[in-house]
């Protein structure tokens, strides 16, 4: 598995707190047996009902790969279809004020780092991208350093998640299978597994 050390690309600012996964991927697109093609439906209803152009429909942010959001992004349903859709749309990293835990976990196993920074810093970054959509955002996973034109700041990430990206161990199945005798031993010690 590859190490994920940095992500670089143009940004896409998406303002608003508590943007839930029903909005990222409406439930009707969960009626599938694969994740293929989900990128077509990212924010579909928001894009249709938004008063102005929704950032995901705005040509200025075409081909952007770094999503910049506010707080509690990805709350609600655990559907991995939401981060799958974003990743397949081309989002390689997300920088925000905070994330729902299930969403963050889903992004991590897909190799999409989620960085956090305070409200003022995020707003500055969103404003910068809105004013100069061509700005390239560089995000360094190991140091958390984010650079975008004149703006530089240090964002954070849970240590274990960061280390998993840096070591190339973000997709955990192989690690979980690595010492399987220990898994069996824990199971045997649990009375409801081995018998009360």
């Amino acid at each position: 598995m590859s190490r994920i050390l940095s992500i670089s690309g143009r940004g896409i600012p998406l303002r608003g707190n508590d943007i839930d996964t029903d909005r990222i991927m409406p439930a009707r697109y969960l009626k599938v047996v694969s994740f293929e093609g989900l990128e077509k439906h990212v924010f579909e209803d928001d894009r249709r009902t938004n008063r102005g152009p929704h950032p995901f429909s705005d040509m200025r942010y075409q081909d952007a790969s770094i999503l910049v959001v506010n707080s509690n992004f990805g709350c609600g349903s655990s559907r991995e279809h939401a981060p799958q859709g974003l990743a397949r749309f081309g989002i390689g990293a997300i920088i925000g004020e905070s994330f729902s835990e299930i969403f963050l976990g889903n992004c991590s196993v897909l190799g999409v780092p989620c960085f956090t920074a305070d409200h003022e810093t995020i707003e500055k970054l969103q404003t910068l991208i809105e004013q100069s959509p061509e700005t390239v955002v560089d995000a360094d996973v190991q140091t958390g350093r984010i650079t975008a034109g004149p703006l530089t700041f240090t964002a954070s990430m849970p240590t274990a998640v960061r280390d998993a990206f840096v070591q190339g161990k973000w997709d955990p199945t192989m690690m979980l299978l690595d010492k399987f005798e220990e898994v069996r031993a824990v199971g045997q010690h649990l009375p409801y597994v081995s018998g009360f």
Partner: protein
């Protein structure tokens, strides 16, 4: 050393610290359904892995099941394809599956407890955020994504990080007309939809002590709406009485040893917590959401806040400072993993009995499982709803999330006993949801508008 249930369960299931620094946690019970599992099985096949402990995974079909007719093949070809895929996957890997025609059929978070699969001291995972429901039994139960479903299938483990624990005490007697749903909506209103991020919520206090398992499940179910990935209640005699005699509960001498172990896993009296919050039950009112997240709620006698979020007001078509009571509704929905259990149906029936649903309202009563439906029918409750003008449906997730034919249309307003009032949640991109207790939904169905159930209860003999 005095410890919390969370830490005791975590430590009993901890396999090791992974090279990444995360904890490898053994998952005691894995529940799967048709929506979030097909891709996980595909990944297992692609890598040539197998299912490590097939006997520790149980499958059901709930999200896409039509509630008007559950005859196979389903009319919706995708719903049928997803069902066939789960059948094939369960057969290939030796996993127990409850199909729509099984007596045990129902919403995954209703049937797990009902079958006695959910037990104290367990770790439980399911590809569904409302897995927190199972915490009502003193389990650590978490929602996961599809890649994590794959991990649990392959290894019976998750790579996770521990949560902090916030103790939430609710004390005192709930007033008549105020229910578990109002308690959890009030907790989320007070702590916010982000307040629980990084925490497991431990619910306790005299109000919780007096609650039935159905009520505790309603509270734990919505932990995730407050941002907490897990929520739990310490196991006690109420828990054990519920479990005794259930299909998968221990029996005989094993039962006594099980109860002793379950008791030992409860939080110790002098355990310390990362945070504590206390609520006063007698001050809680029947609660109704006015906005687009479950934290945006008011008591039924209150007005929408003067400083209400403009985006939410615009979507809902409401004005700041307007009373929520009297808001006209188009649809009434009683059901879901939050409030689709027998006690919910009984309480709603008390309100509905002898009344008629308002002419302009479409009203659905959807039991959470076939067993719940049959128990209600045995008591004649289905007739109470049918006589009042409700549709009495088959078990499933129904209008909670719009992955089946039960959906809002256009800008309809729905009084709903479900768990999420997100934009578009109930199937129409412009549909509007007002969350409330099943009794409040029943009251709204009859009045045709948001009404105070306490006034209707005054006329009902206890």
């Amino acid at each position: 050393m005095a410890d919390t249930l969370f830490h005791k369960v975590w430590n009993a299931h901890r396999v090791r610290t992974l090279p990444s620094g995360q904890t490898q946690l053994f998952i005691g019970l894995h529940l799967i359904h048709e929506v979030t599992s097909p891709q996980a099985f595909d990944m297992i096949r692609q890598h040539g892995w197998t299912v490590a402990f097939p006997e520790r995974t149980v499958a059901t079909i709930d999200h896409i099941v039509p509630t008007s007719s559950q005859k196979r093949p389903f009319l919706d070809v995708m719903a049928e394809e997803m069902t066939v895929a789960l059948e094939r996957n369960c057969k290939a890997f030796g996993i127990k599956l409850y199909l729509p025609d099984a007596m045990e059929q129902g919403i995954v978070h209703v049937i797990g407890p009902q079958l006695g699969l959910t037990q104290p001291g367990m770790t439980i995972a399911c590809g569904d955020s409302h897995t927190s429901t199972h915490g009502a039994f003193g389990a650590i139960a978490m929602g996961i994504g599809t890649s994590q479903v794959r991990d649990v299938l392959a290894s019976q483990c998750l790579a996770v990080e521990p949560l902090k624990v916030r103790r939430i005490d609710v004390n005192g007697k709930l007033p008549s007309g105020v229910y578990a749903k109002d308690v959890i909506l009030t907790i989320i209103r007070r702590l916010g939809v982000q307040g629980g991020v990084g925490f497991a919520y431990e619910y306790g206090g005299t109000t919780l002590d007096a609650m039935s398992m159905d009520e505790r499940m309603t509270i734990c179910n919505m932990s995730i709406e407050g941002g907490a990935r897990a929520g739990y209640v310490n196991p006690d005699d109420t828990t054990f009485a519920y479990l005794k005699g259930r299909k998968f509960a221990p029996t005989g001498a094993e039962w006594d040893r099980a109860v002793a172990w379950w008791r030992s896993m409860a939080s110790d009296k002098d355990a310390s917590y990362d945070d504590r919050v206390t609520l006063d039950a007698p001050s809680i009112e029947p609660t109704v959401t006015w906005g687009i997240n479950p934290g945006q709620s008011v008591g039924v006698s209150e007005r929408i806040p003067a400083n209400a979020d403009p985006e939410a007001l615009a979507y809902m078509g409401f004005d700041a400072s307007m009373p929520i009571s009297g808001t006209r509704i188009d649809v009434a929905f009683i059901g879901s993993c939050t409030n689709g259990r027998l006690s919910d149906i009984e309480e709603a029936a008390r309100i509905v009995k002898g009344h008629k649903v308002a002419k302009h309202v479409k009203a659905l009563m959807v039991p959470g499982s076939r067993e719940v439906a049959l128990a209600a029918e045995k008591r004649g409750l289905h007739q109470v709803f049918i006589d009042a003008g409700f549709e009495w449906r088959g078990a499933g997730c129904s209008m909670c999330l719009a992955m089946n034919p039960d959906k809002l249309e256009g800008r309809q307003v729905c009084a709903s006993s479900s768990n999420r009032n997100f934009k578009g949640r109930q199937g129409s991109p412009t549909g509007r949801t007002l969350l409330m207790s099943p009794a409040m939904v029943a009251a709204a169905a009859i009045a045709g508008e948001v009404a105070d159930v306490r006034e209707m209860l005054e006329a009902v003999p206890a």
